[in-house]
Symmetry: C2
Subunit: 197 residues, 2 copies
C-alpha cells in the first residue's frame, strides 16, 4: 500500500475542520498519500444512545470545545464562526463528497465545505451553499445530480459499515495499517507512522 493514511471525517465535526485544512500539506511533506473517507457519526452516536452531538448533550464539554477550537484555530490561522444550528446536517455534503471522490477530486470540495461551515458559519445542508462549494472546488455543476443516485447513497451507507467495522466512534479518525488514531491531536502521530510504512 505504501505510505498511506485514511482520513475519516464527518462534515459536522469541528475538530475534523482542523485536520481537513492541514492534512494535505502535512502529508505531502512526508510523502504520504491520503485516502479521504467521509462518514456519518449520527448512526454511531445513536448506537451508543446519543441523540445529538456530545457537545450538546454534555454542556460543560460543549462550552470547552468552542473555546478550545478558538485557541486552535487562532494557532492554525483559521477563521472560526459557530454555525447555527450545531451540529449541522452533513448528509447532503457527504453524498456529494462521495461523488467528488469518484471523480478523483474530493479534497478541494471537502475543504470548501469546512471553510463555508466553520470559517463563515454557513448552513451546509443548504443546496445553494453546497453548489457554491462545488463550484469553488472546480467540479462540473451537472455532476451534482449524481449525489441523489442509489449508487451514491449505497456507497455512503457502506462507509458507515466500514467505519463500524473499524470500531470508529468519533471524528476525525485516522487509520494507518491496523492502527487507529482519534482526534486532530493525533494527526501528526498517525502521519509519522504512515511515513515509516
Amino acid at each position: 500500500m505504501g505510505k498511506r493514511i485514511a482520513f475519516w471525517f464527518e462534515f459536522a465535526s469541528t475538530y475534523s475542520y482542523l485536520s481537513a485544512m492541514r492534512i494535505e500539506r502535512a502529508a505531502a511533506d512526508l510523502g504520504v498519500t491520503i485516502a479521504w473517507e467521509p462518514f456519518l457519526l449520527g448512526p454511531i452516536f445513536a448506537a451508543q444512545g446519543w441523540t445529538s452531538s456530545p457537545f450538546n448533550l454534555f454542556p460543560a464539554k460543549g462550552r470547552y470545545m468552542w473555546r478550545d477550537m478558538e485557541r486552535l484555530c487562532a494557532r492554525q490561522g483559521l477563521p472560526l464562526t459557530r454555525p447555527d444550528p450545531f451540529p449541522q446536517n452533513g448528509l447532503p455534503a457527504a453524498r456529494l463528497a462521495m461523488v467528488a471522490r469518484e471523480m478523483g477530486h474530493i479534497a478541494p470540495f471537502v475543504r470548501a465545505v469546512y471553510a463555508a461551515q466553520f470559517g463563515r458559519g454557513l448552513v451546509i445542508s443548504d443546496p445553494q451553499v453546497l453548489a457554491e462549494c462545488w463550484a469553488e472546488a472546480g467540479l462540473p455543476p451537472e455532476a451534482m445530480e449524481q449525489a441523489k443516485s442509489p449508487e451514491i447513497k449505497a456507497a455512503l451507507f457502506a462507509q458507515g459499515e466500514r467505519a463500524a467495522a473499524l470500531d470508529l466512534f468519533g471524528a476525525p479518525s485516522f487509520v494507518v495499517g491496523e492502527e487507529v488514531f482519534w482526534g486532530d491531536d493525533r494527526l501528526d502521530q498517525a502521519l509519522a507512522l504512515a511515513a515509516q510504512s
Copy 2:
C-alpha cells in the same frame, strides 16, 4: 500569581497518569509553578448521568483508549499495566493527597500512586498499597491517619465544588489564569501560556 499552572487530576484517570509523570520536569524547564489539585470525577460524571467511566460506558472508546495509552506510554518510556477493576476507587488516595499537600509534599505521593496503579496494576484503594506509596514519597507513617479527619474530608469535598465552579468535566485539566485546558494533549499548550504570564 506569577508563572503558575493548576493541575487537576483524578487518580483513576489514565491520561492523568501521563501528565503526572511529566509535568514537574516540563514545568521546571519553563520556570512554571504547579498547584496540585486532586479531585473526584465520580460526582461530575454522575451529574451528567454517567454511572461509570466513559471508557466502560462506551466500549469502542474504551478499547481505543487502552491502545492509545499503550502508544503514548511507549513514547514517554512509561510502563503500562491495566488495573483490575477499572476504574479504580481513587477516594482514599485523594484524601491522602490532600494531607500530603498540607505537608507541602504532594508531588512524590501522586507519582507513587500513579506508578503503582498504571505502572504495576496495583489496587490503589488497598491500604497496604497506599502505605507503600506514602513511604515511597518519604512521608511519615503516622500522618496517614489525618486522611480520616473531618477537615480533610471537607477539604476534598471543597475541591469538587471548585472543580464544578471551574466547569471541569474530565481529567487531567489544567487551569492557567482564566483559561481551562483538558487532556494530557493540552499540557504543553497550557504550560506555554503559563510561561508567558
